[in-house]
Symmetry: C2
Subunit: 447 residues, 2 copies
């Protein structure tokens, strides 16, 4: 340990059990989380290199950690591991003419957004955690968010990274150009690799011109299948910058926490936004409203006022805290082709009824990406886990995915093969072995 | 050979020298192209599997080929190789509610566009070759085009692929969902891998709602640096669906071929389009015009008429044929951070003067991606090759890339390490060795 402490030139090493405790888990309350031997608070790529060389020399497993906001246990510690924290590398530089932000892995997503905004520019990715999660973690999980339906996931904004491999090699992948096909596409292999291939220390991020303030359309549906029809019709017709769905249980959870006058009897509420240029957004908002009505919406509200629209976005963002009041939670993150969303949601309702557990759902509906949250207490914990597995199986059966944006981590590793198959798993292991031959990086995650 | 011919259940094998001749080269007239032992015209994934198993068994190199429109020699045959053609797998199915097109690797880009359009949907990627190039080739090279400035490159539209590995293993990577982070990101590793990791046989492609007809702005500049200023200013302010630049030599080449009244004295012509929703595009077009004027445009033309706008797009698309009349050509495809485009173009002009060769340039200016074309004859061929290398070096020196969208192929392999470094090259070789241990797939390309 002293050897490693001395190797960290810019950062420092935590070894006291009481200071390590906070680094054992991400947002998944995993009771089997291990106890690290130490936490390296890295302040530079050189620190990360020193940490990984030390870990390779001593065959110590390495768990990389940004802000620890992950929802799939990708940053859960294993016994005796070294936690490498990149949270301290927070520098951000914006080059407005090139439309590129360059930042340390520990820069918060919200800080990058703010830095870009000061130049009239926009960093779109907006995972639910954007105010507290790091760019390094966002890249390692290829984080999504509400904006993806128009702007895509994190991968679409990563032009280049600096990454440290298990043996301490520092690589620069990609760069600062928008287009670049020089060599095997190594860069995207690391985006979403959940700390299993290397430690990301720095990134070049693509920025867009700031969009105009969005127009908002809210629609209430008497059945989930009519809401699903609207989602398909909107997706075929206009580009929305947000298309979110709240089911009946979620509406009621939100109303319980902060009464907002939502219709507690509604089967589903759709929240759509468009940030199209100029007056185009008024025309698009009108189209969205018409398509909702045509699909059977019983109530419709539309506003071009940003503050009013933000109230609805706040309601959407409050669905997390609202469900937290209901009990212990197993958060899900499944995806299906967008037209199969109603089937997925119907089956989730059946699973909830079969097992006698509550499963409120919010969905990035425009992308077919749903977040059912299984609520449980000590009596229903076993049934909750059965529900978790059944939902994963349902998603795969519908041609979908066990994770749209949270990652596999430890929580979904057992289910991965059912989706990607043994062939893809074998190739993944070959690549892992080629890049991390000792297998020290995040063992037990993904593979 | 007879063994292989019998293994092809759906396709057929060409072995006669006269029928093989056409499969020796892509669009690069490489005099060192080898003579294949045979060409497998595959009509199914099973054919491709049989071909690759046969090739592995007999240690025969495999060169995969779509339409053969590549510009970097990625499909140049080597002596004794088996050419695997996927051009015959042309089926296309569109699922409009899921907004997904599923097609064989041999489907033409234009056919996918047309199939999508029949459902009011849009497949954006538009490499210059889109009318004659295949989706398989587009994916293998991660092809770009004019639309990338708004819509991104091919990778942004590939939701899933079916790919055959060197040993004949058939893998399904990704799927039909928009978001999917299940497992190591293997899918993007294959997008742009230029036939070195596997043979793509099928793809699921993401579609968008058809955009409205675009508005067009054309601006003429007295100096390249003023045009560069306009490109930066536009890029910081509005989202254009096209932002192309023609330099003075290109303008004159086009005028020589088909007089259109372009200003032969202009240093640069910018062609911008916006397909923003509703009347938003009129507002965006006005903004683009204002920014061009503010940057010093001496002439400005703007139209909301699609047919008129198409005339200018035709002029842009005719720059290829126009330069072909000038002599033999070495096409380049370099990229830089967008604010460095003027420096790149200034240096290219110097290189042309130093070496006494003509180098007209067109650029996907909004992405910082330039296509200088080096014109040569038998007297200047050596100098042309020196110019080619100097331009590559210039792009790297400016923090850019040796290839923005054409790929490395054989033509740029010697320059690759100067950009990506020895570390990334080593990792690439490790991955190549893990997936293609015998090294039979496209030897000499990329790595």
């Amino acid at each position: 340990m002293r050897e490693l402490a001395e190797l960290l030139l810019d950062g420092r090493l935590l070894t006291a059990p009481e200071s390590i405790e906070a680094y054992r888990r991400d947002f998944v309350p995993d009771p089997s989380a291990g106890m690290p031997c130490a936490v390296a608070l890295c302040a530079s790529a050189a620190d990360v290199q020193a940490s990984l060389r030390w870990a390779t020399r001593h065959r110590v497993p390495v768990v990389t950690r940004g802000a620890g906001t992950g929802l799939s246990g990708g940053a859960t510690a294993v016994d005796g591991c070294l936690v490498v924290s990149t949270a301290g590398m927070t520098d951000i530089r914006v080059d407005p003419d090139a439309r590129v932000a360059t930042c340390g892995a520990g820069a918060l997503n919200a800080s990058v957004k703010a830095a870009a905004a000061r130049h009239g520019l926009f960093y779109p990715p907006d995972p639910g955690s954007f105010e507290i999660s790091t760019i390094g973690g966002n890249i390692a999980t290829n984080a999504g968010g509400l904006c993806c339906v128009k702007y895509g996931v994190t991968a679409a904004y990563v032009l280049g990274i600096e990454v440290v491999l298990a043996d301490g090699t520092l690589l620069e992948l990609g760069g600062r150009t928008v287009k670049n096909v020089a060599g095997l596409p190594l860069l995207p292999l690391f985006v979403g690799s959940e700390g299993t291939l290397g430690v990301i220390t720095r990134a070049h991020l693509r920025l867009l011109p700031a969009p105009p303030p969005a127009s908002t359309v809210v629609a209430v549906f008497p059945t989930m299948s009519r809401a699903g029809e609207a989602v398909v019709a909107i997706g075929r017709t206009v580009v929305t910058s947000m298309l979110e769905l709240l089911d009946n249980r979620t509406i009621n959870n939100v109303e319980d926490m902060r009464p907002s006058g939502l219709d507690r009897d509604a089967a589903a509420l759709l929240l759509a936004q468009t940030d199209a240029a100029g007056s185009g957004r008024l025309e698009d908002a009108a189209t969205i409203g018409r398509l909702c009505r045509d699909s059977g919406a019983t109530e419709l509200y539309s506003t071009d006022d940003l503050a009013e629209g933000d109230l609805f976005v706040d309601i959407r963002r409050s669905t997390g805290p609202a469900v937290e009041r209901r009990g212990s939670l197993l958060p899900e993150d499944v995806g299906v082709p967008v037209d199969r969303l109603p089937q997925l949601l119907a089956r989730i309702e059946e699973i909830a009824a079969e097992l006698g557990v509550e499963i409120p759902v919010v969905a990035h509906a425009g992308d077919g990406n749903a977040h059912p949250t299984i609520v449980y207490d000590s009596d229903s914990e076993d049934r909750a886990r059965v529900a978790f597995d059944r939902i994963l199986r349902t998603a795969v059966d519908l041609g979908g995915t066990i994770t749209g944006e949270h990652g596999v981590g430890r929580a979904k590793r057992p289910a991965l093969e059912s989706q990607i198959g043994s062939g893809a798993l074998r190739i993944s292991r070959l690549i892992k072995a080629a890049l991390d031959p000792e297998g020290i990086l995040n063992p037990g995650v993904l593979l």
